[in-house]
Amino acid sequence: MIRRGPAVALSLVLGAGALLSAPGAAVGDSGTAKDVDPCAPGKVKLKVDPVNDLFEVTGVIYSDDDDTWSWRFRHDGDISYQGESKADGDGVGKSFRVVKTMVNFPGAADYIVFRAENEHTGEVCRAELNY
């Protein structure tokens, strides 16, 4: 009989290790961030442009498919916007783009996350940055 305790513990350790070893979102001062995991490289893009006291936030998924994606923007951990989209275009290069406005709070940096999930395949793409 297999003892479940060590197996569970091993699974947790391996899972945690996998999470820790996964490359995080590339965060830079340029206001553009890309996530490479679990998406294919360059599949997700997050861009933040300051406009007066606001941010114009753009999230892009280069999905190359006709699937429905559910997406959401988080701002300092709080959901700002969410919705569903499908890519436009034909074949390679098909993508969708979501543009929203956020408040640029004075003082501390704003933590912004763009996350999209393929409702058909379960693929998750995520990008984040501090601005």
Binding site: H75, D76, T101
Partner: protein
């Protein structure tokens, strides 16, 4: 200068001044009406925005300042609240904390609410403040509100918490409304006035022309009457001079000669000498009367003698009169006649009313200017209280002197005598 004295010019000036006053007045009133209307409209618009847009989307989470709620609220505010004339929006709690504003720097701050804002927050209704007179100065610290109209009203969160919803609206629409109000009144008020001024000016011009024409005609008739009177007086004076005066002079001469006859006794001689003296006196008076009835044809060289004849009756009234003429040798005949006429009127007044003991008539000329002074040491009079007939006489003199572009001055006071001074160009 003559143009300025024209009644038409004066009327036009006053009329345009009145129109300018009306334009400024109506502009001011239109501005006030537009401001008042703008305030009412701003309050109404704010109330509509508050009830139909702000209140449905405001939430209790917004008060907590959660970023996601702020982001969504901002999107709605930018598309549905900060539109048209509304340039800024502020939402306050009663404690004076700014829950939300499109002026992001204000969010979370605690500027205090003013009295009227608290009144609206507690009791409902609306409030407003003119540009630069905002109830609170919170927004003014971050954006220029000098040209923005403030209006506020009360809204509630879904859980019933009262918040103050405040808008700042541009005055562009107010200015447009002011112009619209003013434009609608402008031609209604100014147009008829301008037309009236034009019509009255034309009418005035016609009437003035008629008056001027009538005045010229009256003047012509007056001159004709004067000429006729002058001719008649001249004829009477000539007849008297050639008849009565000559006869009287001959009689005086004969009686004087008879009085010198050594054959006469003393009584008859004395009577004849007395009669001769009386006749000479009468002759002198008659000559003065002749001079008054019709002045002699005056020339510069005869001016002194004519003036002397003029004041000859003064001796009979117990007045020591004197004449002094210097520098008047080259004056024109017209100027000599003018001097004589002014002196005649002044001396006549002095002899009739002044009770003076001395009367001095002085004429001085320097080739360019001619001055006449008639001075007495009589009782004088209060200026402005001249006897009517004398007043007419002085008025006539002034008219004569004015025509000659000269000046006539009458100085007098009670007890200090009277001085009549005329200055005129010598040519």
């Amino acid at each position: 200068m003559r143009l300025l004295h024209s009644p038409v010019t004066q009327f036009l000036f006053m009329g345009l001044l009145t129109v300018a006053g009306i334009v400024l007045g109506t502009g001011y009133l239109a501005g006030r009406a537009a401001d008042a209307e703008a305030k009412v409209e701003a309050r109404g618009a704010t109330q509509i925005l508050a009830r139909s847009v702000a209140q449905p989307i405001v939430s209790d989470a917004l008060i907590k300042g959660r970023a996601g709620i702020m982001d969504r609220f901002t999107t709605r505010v930018n598309t549905r609240l900060v539109v048209g004339d509304v340039e800024h929006v502020v939402i306050w709690t009663r404690s004076g904390r700014v829950v939300y504003s499109d002026v992001i720097a204000l969010i979370g701050r605690h500027p205090k609410l003013a009295g009227d804002q608290l009144r609206v927050l507690d009791n409902g209704g609306t409030g407003s403040a003119a540009p630069g007179e905002a109830e609170d100065q919170a927004v003014a610290k971050y954006v220029d509100t000098s040209n923005l109209l403030q209006a506020y009203t009360r809204i509630h969160t879904p859980k019933g918490k009262a918040l103050l919803f405040e808008t700042y609206s541009s005055l562009n629409e107010v200015e447009n409304r002011r112009q619209a109000i003013y434009a609608s009144f402008r031609w209604i008020t100014i147009g008829p006035l301008l037309l009236l001024i034009v019509a009255v000016t034309l009418l005035l011009r016609v009437l003035t022309g008629r008056l001027t024409k009538a005045s010229h005609e009256r003047e012509r008739l007056l001159h004709a009457a004067i000429d006729a009177s002058d001719g008649e007086r001249r004829r009477i004076a000539r007849d008297l001079h050639d008849g009565v005066v000559q006869d009287l002079a001959g009689t005086t001469f004969s009686i004087s000669a008879m009085a010198r006859d050594p054959a006469l006794d003393g009584g008859h001689r004395s009577s004849l000498q007395s009669a001769s003296g009386s006749l000479r006196g009468s002759l002198k008076s008659l000559r003065s009367l002749l001079a008054e009835i019709h002045p002699p044809d005056l020339h510069a060289e005869g001016l002194a003698a004519a003036l002397a004849d003029l004041i000859a009756p003064a001796a009979g009234a117990g007045i020591a009169a004197s004449v002094s003429v210097e520098g008047a040798e080259t004056v024109s005949d017209e100027r000599a006649a003018l001097v004589w006429r002014v002196a005649q009127e002044a001396a006549r007044n002095a002899m009739r009313h002044s009770a003076a003991s001395t009367l001095a008539v002085t004429v001085r000329g320097d080739g360019q200017h001619l001055a006449l002074e008639v001075v007495d040491d009589g009782v004088g009079f209060e200026p402005g209280s001249e006897h009517k007939s004398d007043s007419f006489g002085l008025r006539g003199l002034r008219s004569l002197v004015d025509e000659a572009d000269g000046t006539l001055e009458v100085r007098s006071s009670v007890g200090d005598g009277t001085t009549v001074r005329m200055e005129v160009d010598a040519r």
